[in-house]
Symmetry: C2
Subunit: 245 residues, 2 copies
Amino acid sequence: MNNNLSQVKAMTFDVFGTVVDWRSSIAREIKEMGQRKGFVLDWDSFADEWRSGYKPAMDKVRNGELPWTKIDTLHRMILDEMLTRHQISNMSEDEKDYLNRAWHRLDPWPDSVKGLTLLKKDHIISSLSNGNVALLVNMAKYGGLPWDTVLSAEIARHYKPDAEAYLSTGEYLGLPIHQVMMVAAHKNDLESAKSNGMMTGYVPRPKEHGINTVTDYGDEDYIDIIADDFIDLSRKMSSIKKSSQ
Amino acid sequence: MNNNLSQVKAMTFDVFGTVVDWRSSIAREIKEMGQRKGFVLDWDSFADEWRSGYKPAMDKVRNGELPWTKIDTLHRMILDEMLTRHQISNMSEDEKDYLNRAWHRLDPWPDSVKGLTLLKKDHIISSLSNGNVALLVNMAKYGGLPWDTVLSAEIARHYKPDAEAYLSTGEYLGLPIHQVMMVAAHKNDLESAKSNGMMTGYVPRPKEHGINTVTDYGDEDYIDIIADDFIDLSRKMSSIKKSSQ
């Protein structure tokens, strides 16, 4: 555990998978739409397929193949391709738009709201997500996420793992970057955050990809703290602050 | 009163003077510093003087004389000039920095927290201030302002009254601009908001400039709704929504 943890003033959170359970939320919404429109799919696989289109789409923005494009638009491009591939042709524009906004209605993990509320007492808490601001604000209202503010790749105009996304947290929050901790369920996010000078908190989410999946509990040297969930993270951060006083 | 008020989904608030009482907060902090450091000034006038340097400093950024510069830095430039002018030379760098951050510790008007909490039930609520993000986040934590998110000229990279500042609200919140209402105690802010397509709410703050000042209660045609305070605004917005259903 890193001794500098007691200096952390702000915590920025990855959102999809770390704060919210995108997979079962998306599967539920596509199932509801299928039942209304008369199509049947493997709902979980549809959610996985949608999510798997996300990184290649962002990479097109990151490498300049696409101009700046927000996640709502990328999600819709992927959805349109998937509907064609699955030969679903009876959805109206309003229905497609509604389904696309399922990403604004993702359920928090059971500990998320309570854990964030506890962490908010002693820290500035913010998203740092590739989701666009509207998506994150709507999701926070839907799920009751008590952010102090919403930071997003859309504000930095760079998707994670670009350095600019991580560095924007210190710039906007007015803090030296080592006083900001990135919290994520994904190690690649934390490795990039650390290489840009942030502190890092790893909160594995064993159910992100459904049951019967393997979770990586390894504690690499770019991880400053590891916790079971946000409530556990809050307890651990409190005890670090107390012991440093 | 404008019939389209029932379509408002988000409300963005001017902050200095509209949500918080900058004048008595700043006067109190400069008085505390003066008592500690052994100087005496007219504390209210000092607050007024500091505030009056703000628009000319922003205008230098708006007209390109200065590159993008955040309000914390502009406040400090003005403060340094004032300390020289008032021949106060015994403050350390830490003390000057602390005093400069008095703008992060401004008291909300008595109705602000309750009114915003009521408005938050049916609307997205955000700042739209020339204050930088860190200032606004710290102020929200200090005063308990329950923003859904913080929007700022710093994010738009344009100070109000530039069009880009107002238009950024619709862009980031994912709404057509006429579904976003600018709320301010200053008519020039509302006139610019309206000319960029926003709805407008006028909440005069008779005590902003101290006692014995004249308040303008005129209801110009660029004002869609006028209210006594945020609690009154919340009541009026609720009754508009109900009557449109």
